[in-house]
């Protein structure tokens, strides 16, 4: 059965698997769109300068879920790639299976312990050993806006939810959609976690959405968050269900919609439309979350390899990823900020500079929290169960906030 299984899964997986030669890294990632592909090209060039070969293994689609499916079949067939883009608690799951290699030596040489914020480093370590290397930091709790629409409606960038709601009335009166949104579960969850963070603060956020404490999930704070979350739906247009996030962003760009709550990857859409931060588009921390920072970090996990050349290349890859040259070049294109806090942000745009400032502040204040909606906080099973409740509450007319909170608590109790 086992031999059969391996043989078959090998077939199901990618057919072209070359034998690893000295110094070759095969890198599985899902950065396939224009800007992302360019960003990953930088890493490829750097690695090839070191004399290694980069074997690209890009799997497009589904925000990485297709890539994960391919990765699983490769791993089960006993032939994982040398490095793979894996994020959040999934790193721990892979490490638990004993498939990941140890990066402690590179980490020690590169002084990762002081370079990386503790919260981020924690995600990269399994059992005290580094098994993955972080690439970037995206901030999720952002509010984006079209300055012309705001000016036309005569409103300022809101900093509290009440300001947002009163601005929205004026925006609607001026003939615009106040909030551009795409009604897909992960986008609903993105807004939900931001609302929870603003209503309950970072400690409550951690209790509820990271530790899945049933009491927190059923508390009045959660019910208040859910009610506020549902109110935001009234600011969206009715064509929203199923829309992709970048379509919502282009509504903001074209001036159909005034604002969008989304992570900073939307900057890619704004700059593709030729807009610059601060002039063509505005960014501000999502209302009520200026002091906190919801992070979404991409990372590469290194699989255990026997080949010495590949091992060497792996270590070089891990080292290069954290070097200033790559961190700056990559993150400028990707729209994120460097994961190390000691770099000069002069070359970055205004939003990224603010993100870095807030990132550092949130590390000091302990208000840096992992994003639940982007797979940084929970196992995919628990995350999926939360998504189900959040999105059906958001869309259904017949579910009360109390019922939703109770169902959230049930998820936590059912020990996924």
């Amino acid at each position: 059965m086992k031999v059969l299984r391996q043989a078959l899964l090998g077939l199901v997986a990618v057919a072209s698997i070359g034998t690893a030669s000295a110094g070759e890294v095969e890198v599985l990632h899902w950065w396939t769109s224009g800007g992302e592909a360019r960003a990953v090209g930088i890493l490829k060039d750097l690695l090839e300068e070191e004399g290694h070969t980069w074997k690209d293994f890009a799997v497009a689609g589904g925000a990485g879920s297709s890539a994960m499916t391919v990765l699983k079949s490769r791993a089960v067939s006993g032939n994982p790639p040398t490095a793979a883009q894996i994020k959040g608690p999934a790193i721990q799951q892979w490490a638990e299976l004993g498939l990941l290699g140890n990066l402690d030596k590179v980490a020690e040489e590169g002084n990762w312990d002081t370079l990386l914020p503790e919260v981020v480093a924690d995600v990269m370590r399994y059992d005290g050993h580094y098994v993955a290397v972080p690439v970037n930091v995206h901030r999720v709790n952002w509010l984006w806006a079209n300055p012309e629409v705001l000016a036309d409606a005569g409103v300022e960038m809101p900093t509290t939810w009440e300001e947002l709601f009163s601005a929205a009335e004026k925006i609607r009166a001026a003939g615009y959609i106040p909030l551009g949104h795409g009604g897909q579960p992960w986008q609903d969850a993105t807004i939900f976690e931001t609302v929870v963070l603003s209503v309950g603060g970072s400690d409550f956020y951690r209790q509820a959405l990271v530790e899945l404490d049933p009491e927190a999930l059923q508390s009045d704070t959660m019910i208040e968050s859910l009610k506020l979350f549902k109110r935001l739906r009234g600011l969206m247009d009715e064509g929203m269900p199923g829309r992709d996030w970048n379509m919502a962003t282009s509504m903001v760009i074209s001036g159909d919609a005034a604002m969008q709550l989304m992570g900073d990857w939307v900057k890619g859409e704004f700059s593709a439309a030729g807009l610059t931060a601060g002039e063509g588009y505005l960014c501000a921390p999502a209302p009520g979350t200026a002091d906190s920072f919801t992070f979404n970090t991409d990372s590469f996990a290194m699989f255990r390899v026997n080949d010495e050349g590949a091992h060497e290349a792996q270590r070089d890859l891990a080292r290069l990823i954290l070097e200033p040259e790559f961190q700056i070049a990559f993150n400028k294109i990707k729209g994120s900020i460097p994961v190390r806090t000691d770099l000069d942000m002069g070359e970055f745009d205004q939003c990224a500079q603010q993100a870095m400032q807030d990132f550092k502040a949130s590390i000091d204040q302990g208000t840096l929290v992992p994003s639940m909606a982007h797979g940084m906080a929970l196992s995919s099973a628990a995350q999926g169960a939360i998504f189900d409740i959040v999105t059906s509450y958001f869309n259904a007319s017949d579910m009360t906030a109390e019922q939703a909170a109770e169902r959230l608590a049930n998820v936590a109790n059912s020990a996924l």
């Binding site: 879920s65 897909q184 199923g242 995350q383």
Partner: protein, 309 residues
């Protein structure tokens, strides 16, 4: 089906054992063997494996810690599974019924020896040539309240007109029915038209001589003759309904919320993106059960019919 008929080809090679005769004797078996092995492994082998996995606590990767039927119990407690199953009943029932009704009506109308029949037939059959993805995307735009039909009618001046089923969690499942019926009813029409053409003219003439009206002839005489066609049509439609995946993905993506989830999309989500292979396998086994519940009575009738015929 077709492979077994090849195997049963006449074996005149048995008479004279020349090398070419031997080859001829064995050729059918050699040709059929790989496809038999392939279907044994990839269809029945994987069915068995899925069943085994549904009894384990497999999460991200398959594991073999058996936990009995606990995954099935979890599935029964899962609200989303019940939404998906109810949706399948609503979607499947309406889809099969509407397709049959429209298909039969179209076939009877086309059977009236009208002009340009070929052209009309092609028009009705054409949607079947599209993939469900294309159908889904087109209907997604048509049904989108801010782009499609609603916006158009409102643009004509009927401000209060509302057709927002696609974004209404309680109605969204019916948009799947609309798109699927649009796609498949032409195919049902083609099946029935072929059947109608096969009905012996003399029966019709005899009925006409007896003074039966046209609707009566169709209802009492022609349709009973078409029972086998009806059967095939129901079988094909029912399994399209159970397997529906691409249409949901393209048209609604399972939304709003998970209001249009079907068992197939449920299975995919849990197995592949939520790292719950055990639960996903359990749902796959229940889907298989659903297919068998339709298939076994069908095979039973077919085989019994053969014996008598």
């Amino acid at each position: 089906m077709s492979s077994t008929s090849t195997a049963g080809a006449p074996r005149h090679g048995a008479l004279r054992r020349t090398p070419s005769g031997l080859l001829q004797d064995w050729l059918p078996r050699i040709v059929v063997a790989p496809s038999l092995v392939v279907s044994l492994v990839f269809v029945y082998g994987f069915m068995l494996w899925t069943f085994v996995l549904s009894l384990t606590n497999s999460r991200m990767l398959p594991s073999y810690d058996f936990i009995g039927f606990a995954q099935y119990a979890r599935l029964m407690e899962n609200e989303r599974w019940w939404v998906a199953s109810t949706n399948l009943v609503v979607f499947g029932g309406l889809f099969v019924a509407l397709c049959l009704f429209l298909g039969v009506v179209l076939a009877i109308l086309l059977d009236q020896r009208i002009r340009q029949e070929g052209a009309l037939r092609t028009i009705y059959l054409y949607p079947m040539a599209l993939s469900f993805i294309v159908t889904g995307v087109v209907w997604k735009w048509l049904l989108n309240p801010s782009l499609g039909i609603e916006a158009m009618v409102q643009g004509w001046g009927f401000e209060t007109f509302s057709f927002d089923w696609l974004v209404d969690p309680n109605m969204a499942i019916y948009t799947l029915v609309i798109a699927a019926v649009w796609q498949a009813s032409g195919f049902v029409m083609a099946l029935f038209l072929a059947g109608l053409r096969g009905v012996d003219d003399s029966i019709l003439k005899a009925a006409q001589l007896d003074g039966a009206s046209l609707p009566r002839i169709y209802w009492r005489v022609v349709m009973p003759c078409l029972r086998p066609v009806l059967f095939s049509a129901v079988m094909i439609l029912a399994h399209i309904a159970i397997k529906s995946f691409d249409l949901v993905m393209a048209l609604t993506g399972g939304g709003p919320g998970y209001a249009t989830d079907l068992p197939a999309t449920f299975m995919y989500t849990h197995t592949f993106s939520r790292a719950q292979i055990g639960l996903g396998s359990a749902s796959a086994m229940l889907m298989l059960g659903g297919v068998l519940a339709i298939l076994i009575p069908y095979l039973y009738c077919e085989l019994r019919g053969r014996k008598h015929g």
